[in-house]
């Protein structure tokens, strides 16, 4: 199912991607020629132990970093030739991020945090407020819109962060260990949020994780080791996060 989608309209096309750090003897080969295709609307988990190159790959996909060689196309557009200004226009708007740490700006309210990427994209205030409120609503945290991040639980903050990521309607959602800083119950809720989001909006989600349990919530798992893809297959018995937790009102 997932493979069919990707052949029809690939969102991400990567060809022989390498990334080296350092010079001479100290050279680190973080990526040693990676090729993969991710279709529009897929929910993919990128797995691997630390040092496998998954963070490097995510940084390149998120336009945080440039490959040493190889091709990276998003929607058919060559991403390796963008200027840093053009990259900035993709970030936050077309490619959105959810990070391991909470990464909300502590001195802004939830609503202001969610509006921020759209503000940087120079969208009119009324449009971005509407989109921000919708996104908060979708993640079930609309009632927190005037709270500051310090006044929320970890799970609530992470859902605000997801709302911030999806509010501008991105093509690709990159989540780097999104449950890493959360307890099991809150993590489950966040995974559930991703799944619901994926089912409802069809947004392409790339979950970067070292946790097989988390990865099992995706439709497809790509495993990296030592800078190379060692496994790439659909998830046989996909886990669905407990819906019952949602109705209990979320973690406190």
């Amino acid at each position: 199912m997932a493979m069919e989608k990707s052949q029809a309209a690939p969102l991400i096309e990567i060809q022989d991607l390498t990334r080296r750090y350092g010079e001479g003897e100290a050279t680190v080969h973080a990526l040693r020629g990676i090729s993969l295709t991710i279709g529009r609307g897929e929910m993919v988990a990128l797995m691997g132990p630390s040092g496998s190159g998954k963070s490097t790959l995510m940084n390149i996909l998120g336009l945080f970093d440039r490959p040493t060689s190889g091709q990276y196309r998003l929607n058919g557009q060559d991403m390796t030739r963008l200027t840093s200004r053009q990259q900035a226009q993709f970030r936050g708007r077309r490619i959105a991020f959810v990070f391991q740490g909470i990464h909300l700006l502590p001195r802004l309210t939830a609503l202001a945090n969610v509006e921020l990427p759209m503000a940087y994209a120079r969208m009119p205030a009324s449009v971005r407020k509407k989109a921000a409120l919708e996104a908060l609503e979708r993640l079930g945290v609309a009632h927190l819109k005037d709270r500051y991040p310090t006044e929320m639980s970890g799970g609530q903050a992470q859902r605000v962060a997801i709302a911030r990521a999806i509010a501008p309607g991105p093509d690709l959602l990159l989540a780097d260990e999104p449950t890493g800083a959360l307890d099991r119950k809150s993590g489950e809720l966040v995974l559930q949020a991703f799944q619901e989001l994926h089912d409802a909006t069809g947004v392409t989600i790339l979950l970067v994780t070292h946790d097989p349990f988390v990865a099992q919530h995706a439709e497809r798992i790509i495993a990296l080791e030592d800078g190379q893809v060692i496994d790439d297959r659909p998830v046989a018995d996909r886990l669905v996060a407990h819906a019952t937790l949602r109705s209990s009102g979320g973690p406190s």
């Binding site: 940084n59 998120g62 945080f64 970093d65 840093s84 200004r85 900035a88 226009q89 993709f90 970030r91 936050g92 708007r93 991020f97 990070f99 740490g101 990464h103 700006l105 001195r107 921020l116 990427p117 503000a119 940087y120 994209a121 911030r164």
Partner: protein, 401 residues
């Protein structure tokens, strides 16, 4: 994005640190603004004094033949021995020159007065007054805005300045009494009202003899200088031409020099300006140090906020957005310092002006200087930290915990 609000929020969040950083700018701006304000106060004071004694005055001093000597010719109380002028050049200006100029009947040349200094002591019995004795022609008094409190200024006796009369006679009337210049007795025929003099001479401490008498008493044959009054300040250049014409006929070797009050004023003013600028320049060094303080603290702020910068860039902030955000913060910090410094300076200049007696206070110019310097310093020293923040790769920024 409300860049200003973000900057203010950050400054307020680190109040103590912000205050200490701004303190550098406060001191720097205070020093610069205070010195420039006091300087312009002094300038205004000098101008006012010169306006008081008449911008229409012209001074003729002796000079070496056809030499463009740099005679100073300031003040009238230093004629020196045997008709030596201030410049030390033997005077060739005569009573005849004074009369020729005074009787020119040219409409732009109103009056001429010869001036000499009499190097003698003024005494009454055994009491000696610490007074300068000058010989002047009658028009001198009106040129210097001096008026009689008692008696007349046109008499044949001596005219005493206010302080001289008080020191010799106390509260008794001086008029009609006899004083001695050197060994020659003179009747007091006039006493001046207390007056303010031009910088460099105080009429209150001066006794005035009629010019002819003074020449006789001191055994001099030439006057130290001749003061001319043009009909108006605007006619000064014309009057200079007329006077030069008359004098050249009598002194073909051109052994004189004509100086106008405006020239003297210009010299004094430009001297004051140079001193003021010099002091302000030194004060600007403290502003520079303040600026370095801002740069330092902004570099700290940038490294503390790596994470925030990373998040903002991940959310689509361009390099320019980050640059503007940090530049706004440094400029705002400097502006706050400049504002406080200017207020302190306003108080200080007012107090100093009152104490010294010059019309000093904040001027539009000095406030504009403060604003200009604050923005300049904030921007100049904020650029490097802001560029460092803007160029940060988001990946690096997010890795920092």
């Amino acid at each position: 994005m409300n860049t200003f609000a973000i900057a203010w929020d950050s400054i307020w969040h680190h109040r103590t640190r912000s205050f200490l950083t701004a303190l550098g700018i406060i001191i720097g701006v205070f020093a610069v603004v205070t010195l420039t304000s006091l300087g312009s106060g002094v300038k205004a004071y000098v101008n006012q004094k010169f306006a008081g004694i008449g911008a229409n005055l012209i001074t003729v001093v002796p000079a070496l033949p056809s030499a463009h000597s740099s005679g100073h010719g300031l003040g009238h109380n230093g004629g020196g021995q045997g008709g030596l002028a201030l410049s030390g050049i033997p005077s060739t200006l005569s009573l005849g020159d004074v009369q020729a100029l005074d009787h020119s009947h040219h409409p732009v040349l109103q009056a001429a007065a010869g001036v000499i200094t009499v190097p003698e002591l003024l005494s009454k019995g055994s009491t000696t007054a610490s007074a300068t004795i000058m010989g002047v022609s009658t028009p001198y008094f009106s040129m210097q805005n001096l008026t009689a409190a008692q008696g007349t200024l046109k008499g044949t006796g001596v005219v005493l300045g206010h302080n001289v009369a008080v020191s010799l006679f106390g509260h008794h009337p001086a008029l009609g009494q006899t004083v001695t210049v050197g060994t020659t007795p003179f009747k007091v025929t006039g006493v001046l009202k207390s007056a303010e003099g031009a910088p460099g001479s105080d009429p209150n401490d001066t006794a005035y003899l009629p010019l002819a008498q003074a020449l006789k008493v001191s055994g001099q044959t030439h006057v130290s200088e001749i003061i001319l009054a043009a009909s108006t300040a605007q006619n000064v250049p014309k009057a200079v031409t007329v006077a030069r014409h008359i004098l050249l006929a009598r002194h073909p070797s051109h052994n004189f020099k004509i100086i106008t009050s405006q020239e003297i004023l210009k010299t004094v003013t430009s001297t004051t300006s140079v001193i003021t600028d010099f002091l302000a320049g030194i004060a600007a060094i403290s502003l520079l140090v303040g600026g370095i303080g801002i740069m330092n603290i902004m570099l700290v702020t940038v490294s503390e906020r790596f994470r925030e910068i990373g998040i903002r860039k991940a959310l689509g902030a361009r390099d320019g957005d980050i640059l503007v955000q940090f530049l706004t913060e440094s400029v705002l910090l400097a502006l706050i310092g400049g504002f406080v410094g200017t207020i302190f300076s306003g108080v200080a200049t007012h107090v100093v002006g009152k104490l010294v007696g010059i019309p000093a206070g904040l001027t539009v110019g000095s406030v504009l200087t403060a604003v200009f310097f604050s923005i300049g310093v904030g921007a100049l020293f904020g650029v490097l930290p802001a560029m460092r923040a803007a160029r940060l790769m988001p990946a690096e920024a997010l890795r920092t915990e």
